[in-house]
């Protein structure tokens, strides 16, 4: 029984130019209560892997360089 993928627009976006995950920073990934952020093997930058967001904002608030921004998920907007 194969699984299909349903696209969804993600609430959390990361500005790669500002993100310093490639320098060892893991703040946003650490603080996310739902553990939906990861650091990309390709770019070394943080990104939202799972659309399971409580839009609670620690990722944005605690990011040392202001690279992360949280939007309200589209279904609630």
């Amino acid at each position: 029984m194969p699984l299909a993928h349903t696209p969804s627009t993600v609430p959390v976006t990361v500005d790669d130019a500002k993100c310093i995950a490639d320098k060892g920073c893991t703040v946003c990934v650490d603080v996310c209560p739902l553990d939906v952020l990861r650091i990309s093997d390709l770019t070394g930058k943080a990104y939202m892997k799972y659309d399971e967001c409580w839009y609670c904002m620690p990722c944005e608030t605690d990011c040392p360089t202001g690279a992360v921004s949280v939007q309200i998920p589209y279904l609630l907007r």
Binding site: D35, W54, C56, T61, P73
Partner: protein, 578 residues
């Protein structure tokens, strides 16, 4: 990333605290400070730095019993009345006596409470019954301050480990827990002399009206794992039919915070801009009035601030948009809502279990002890009614102190390797399937049925259909659910907790054949309150593998409630014609 590793390690500690949100850190800290030689482990599914209901802080205390403003007697009386009399007063009274000391301690940790011009606590009078609100202007730093204290005390913190089941010794006492890493699927078996459950509300039970699984009132991590674990360990759960339902901003998951905006002159109004809430207490009765207004031609319901001065509104916005739910400002901005010009549409939340706001939780006494020896519970999941954030801190402290004392008196209870092996098998089953149903679909279906069949007003025939549907979902969960990586495995385990809670909600609601607590337990086919048969707690627990419910008498009051006060709650049922 998120690959599944096959590994198991075993550690031993004196006190294991599960859940690093509000009650948990305080429990671990107090246990460690009371006995610095004790090995205290704090286990957290997310990261203690930003986990739990107060991950982004809290804008104030709403049940602060501060000498000179309120007394423990007065507070206990109000909570008893607000909870329709079904209340063991000893834990409530103990909270009220100790919470001021905890406020002062939090203050020393660097959590600032609002002060008046002379530096004294600026306690707000919300209504004439009691004065319990103390704003927290830098409430967003709560978690950071707690985390620093944990580091200083050298509490062992275990982040990204999700407890799956408690382990019982042969005599039934608690002996530890099994946990799984949410990023590697490695197992950790923790032997402990005492375990404190601080896993928060069952907030992912009903489905928000938006249909977004994660748009819940409670932090969406709070999937009821604590309720499920306590149940499987044999602990009694009290009054689960007394659901949590809260007013919130429509489509947004944030509370309307009438208690924050109230002291500034804001209030809850109907579409004509008129107040309509007759009830004095934050209670199911108040929610019933809210529900009635929503259903009536006078709805929807709004938070009204547009009559306030623009400067006052700005002050309220600073509080509401900075702390607890900082995305609130963004939500309103998207829709072009300006508090100064328009009332804000409100609605009611999905259903859940939570003692922090109502009274559905694991049964505990005044030492936070559950009915299982060595097992404690505190915070939203422990049934000290209406305990809110300060209750979580205070009762967490009580639990930590008592648990570490117990640990000093006993040896490690025996654990059964068979139990451990069986639990590993249960947890890993979804990872061993090649294909099947993903956890998010199992969860969605469960939660939709909760909305369809368990939401108040509660109807017997509907709840019975719900039970049959849950059994079908359980069959799928046990035989067909698939988890492809460790993250999905966490979601699969959460789906299992959610389904357990759904079953408990149905069973508890069907057992109490009367209506009580306003909307929380409004049964259409038993519409009257029946004190002669049901002035008691209901306790749900697992016996011989089956879910049973029984009555438990309310412990005689230590703070007497006069006959006319006892009726105060009922009088509010009579709606006056405005």
């Amino acid at each position: 990333m998120d690959e599944i590793h096959d590994a198991t390690s075993e550690v031993a500690c004196d006190v294991l605290v599960i859940g690093g949100g509000t009650a948990g850190p305080m429990a671990a800290l107090k246990a460690k400070l009371r006995n610095p030689a004790a090995r205290v482990v704090l286990l957290e599914k997310a990261n203690v730095k930003r986990s739990g209901a107060i991950s982004m802080g809290m804008d104030g205390l709403n049940n602060a019993v501060i000498p000179g403003y309120a007394t423990p007697e007065q507070y206990t009386k109000e909570i008893t009345i607000a909870n329709d009399g079904i209340c063991d007063q000893a834990p409530v009274y103990k909270y009220a006596e100790r919470c001021y000391e905890i406020i002062q301690e939090l203050d020393r940790f660097g959590i600032r409470f609002q002060r008046d011009g002379n530096g004294e606590y600026d306690v707000k009078k919300v209504h004439h019954l009691g004065t319990y609100v103390l704003p927290m202007p830098n409430g967003e730093t709560v978690k950071k301050a707690l985390y620093r204290q944990l580091r200083k005390a050298q509490v062992l913190i275990s982040n990204r480990f999700m407890a799956t089941r408690l382990l019982n010794a042969p005599d039934g006492a608690i002996a530890g827990a099994v946990a799984v890493n949410t990023r590697t699927a490695e197992f950790l078996v923790i032997r402990a002399k005492a375990v404190i459950l601080c896993l928060g509300a069952a907030g992912r039970l009903g489905l928000p009206q938006s249909g977004y699984l994660w748009g819940t009132y409670e932090n969406a991590t709070n999937s009821g794992d604590g309720y499920s674990m306590a149940y499987h360990a044999g602990a009694g759960l009290a009054n689960l039919e007394c659901y949590q339902i809260n007013p919130l901003i429509k489509d947004y998951n944030g509370p309307a915070c009438a208690y924050v905006a109230g002291p500034f002159g804001a209030y809850t109004a109907n579409s004509a801009g008129k107040r309509f809430i007759e009830c004095d207490y934050w209670s199911g009765q108040m929610m019933q009035e809210f529900y009635n207004e929503l259903q009536s031609g006078k709805g929807p319901v709004f938070l009204k601030l547009d009559h306030l001065h623009a400067d006052t509104v700005s002050e309220i916005e600073t509080i509401l948009h900075k702390v607890e739910r900082p995305s609130r400002g963004r939500f309103h901005e998207n829709r072009g809502t300006n508090y100064r010009e328009r009332m804000i549409e409100m609605h009611i939340s999905e259903v859940g279990f939570c003692s922090g706001h109502s009274a559905s939780g694991v049964f505990v006494d005044e030492f936070a002890r559950t009915t299982v020896p060595g097992l404690y519970a505190a915070g939203d999941m422990a049934n000290v009614p209406h305990s809110y954030m300060l209750g979580a801190f205070t009762n967490g402290a009580i639990a930590g102190e008592h648990a570490v004392d117990r640990a000093g008196e006993i040896d490690w209870p025996e654990i059964s390797q068979e139990d451990v092996a069986a639990e590993l098998d249960r947890v890993l089953a979804p990872t061993r399937r090649e294909d099947g149903i993903p956890p998010n679909q199992i969860e969605y279906k469960t939660r939709r049925f909760v909305n369809d069949y368990l939401q108040p007003p509660k109807v017997t025939a509907k709840m019975e259909i719900g039970q049959r549907r849950f059994a079908e979902v359980r069959e799928d969960l046990e035989t067909r659910m698939v988890a492809r990586d460790s993250h999905e495995l966490m979601r699969a385990l959460e789906a299992s907790s959610i389904l357990d809670c759904a079953d408990m909600a149905a069973a508890a609601s069907l057992y109490r054949t009367e209506s009580r607590w306003g909307l929380y337990h409004n049964r259409t086919d038993h519409p009257a309150k029946n004190d002669s048969d049901w002035f008691c707690h209901t306790i749900l627990r697992k016996e011989a593998g089956r879910m049973i419910s029984e009555k438990r008498p309310v412990t005689p009051y230590i703070v007497p409630i006069a006959e006319d006060e006892r009726g105060a709650y009922d009088r509010q049922r009579v709606r006056r014609q405005a």
